[in-house]
Amino acid sequence: MTTQSGETPLLEVQDLCVSFVQYTSCLRQSTLQVINNLSVSIYPGEIVAVVGSSGSGKSLLAHAVLGILPGNASFSGVISYDGQALSPKRQAELRGREIALIPQSVNYLDPLMRVGKQVQTSVHAGNPRSRQREVFERYQLSPDVDKLFPFQLSGGMARRVLVSTALVSGARLVIADEPTPGLDDAAVAETLDYFRDLADQGCGVMLITHDIEAALKIADRIAVFYAGSTVEIAPVQDFAGEGEALRHPYTKALWRALPQNGFEPMPGSQPLPHELPAGCVFQPRCRQATSECSTERPAMRTVREGMVRCIHAT
């Protein structure tokens, strides 16, 4: 699809749309489309960071890939894993085996189960005990940690246990949902190293985050979400200087709003799903917008080793 066109992507999402059925009043139903024509792909050995503000549809993408969207959701589009389209049945088979989720909070550990045992339940091939020990060893978790309960772990240890769960499962695609907020610098660096490590072993990693700085430290490519759609997919090197190499005006604005890059705010806010503007979703806030921008929603197109959803991008 993009840079490494010779290879089959591990995960390929094409034109994903997700909508929810809601009750507006009494028995009146309405459909709310929250993800529109979203496309992204991940190759083996690659970390793709998905960045965007809250409400841009990042977590829903993860849920759609895993097949755990709530009952009132419906989706269209194609999600393929290893070149094969995913059906709900196949998703259930792959979940926890081939595709693992590292949840955002350490509260997802079972509070009543010793962590060693807990990690062993995720092992699908080989000896669970030795596999778990091997991975704990690698993350400097000593044998007495095996017997601890989650509440006895520090935040950093709990995070290593969560990552171990994904590692022992032998998953080839790891989805990490907001793993860093609230952690101090050392803990963030440590967490990010684990993901790099997973990718270096040939896994594909999808790192979902609103923290663009964390994403820049380890990702190979960055997918930028805005109002339920991908507006740009850029190689990480393009995030430099004044953002000249970036393609979409929203990505440039995100980059320039960083405290170390000018701290320039852009007026306005992301539209809510039921009040999306006509044409390009970013057009009301865009300085380069022309009349064509409000007539048709731009398609994703390739521009200089990346992809962008803007008719003016060069």
Binding site: G155, A187, H210, S269
Partner: protein
């Protein structure tokens, strides 16, 4: 005005001090950063300064006098998770009214749109909700604002928007501001002075 905490000691459990012997002072018009690793009591110190917790040891003084026990609290705290700081069953106009009479122009500056006032919290995004929490805390009687990871959950654009407004209000109203953040670049950009809790806190 001067907000000062003297020799603060606090613990949630016996024999496990979270804070011990902590001194901090903030002058009106100053923007001070508060840094330290997770678990060093940054948020607890904020809760004490804003009057949510009583310290076991030491005292908090505003111009040499204890904090007022009733009426509008001159030290206001904005939390990291706005969705946990508003009543989910109230429309936003009611949440905003909790902060008392408010400078109407502030809503415009913060980019709060009129139609959001009639909405419930689950109909707004985190960034939109946090704007309400900031507006609620910036009553004209507020003298000190404590921002506990106020923009950690927000995208960079919203973060810059909110801080631009807060800085402007702080300058105009001569507020003292305490910024707690793990983001070094944000602290560098905003603060004139930084307090490191790893140095100040003598808990162990």
């Amino acid at each position: 005005m001067l907000l000062e905490a003297k020799q603060i000691g606090f613990r949630y459990e016996r024999d496990r001090w979270v804070l011990r012997g902590v001194d901090i002072s903030i002058q009106s018009g100053e923007i001070v950063g508060l840094v330290g690793p997770s678990g060093f009591g940054k948020s607890t110190l904020c809760r004490i300064l804003a009057g949510y917790e009583k310290p076991y040891e030491g005292q908090v003084l505003l111009d040499g006098a204890p904090l007022p026990a009733s009426g509008f609290h001159p030290v206001q705290l904005v939390f990291q998770h706005p969705e946990k700081a508003v009543n989910p069953r109230w429309r936003m106009s009611r949440t905003l009214a909790e902060g008392g009479a408010l400078d109407e122009s502030l809503l415009g500056q913060l980019g709060i749109q009129q139609e959001w006032l009639g909405r419930f919290p689950n109909e707004l995004s985190g960034g939109e909700l946090q704007r309400f929490c900031v507006a609620r805390a910036l009553n004209p009687q507020t003298r000190f604002l404590l921002a506990d990871e106020m923009t950690a959950m927000l995208d960079t654009i919203t973060q810059a928007q909110i801080w631009q407004v807060v800085k402007e209000v702080a300058r105009r109203e001569n507020l003292g501001v305490l910024v707690i953040s793990h983001e070094k670049n944000l602290i560098h950009r905003l603060c004139t002075r930084v307090v490191d809790l790893t140095i100040t806190n003598e808990k162990t």
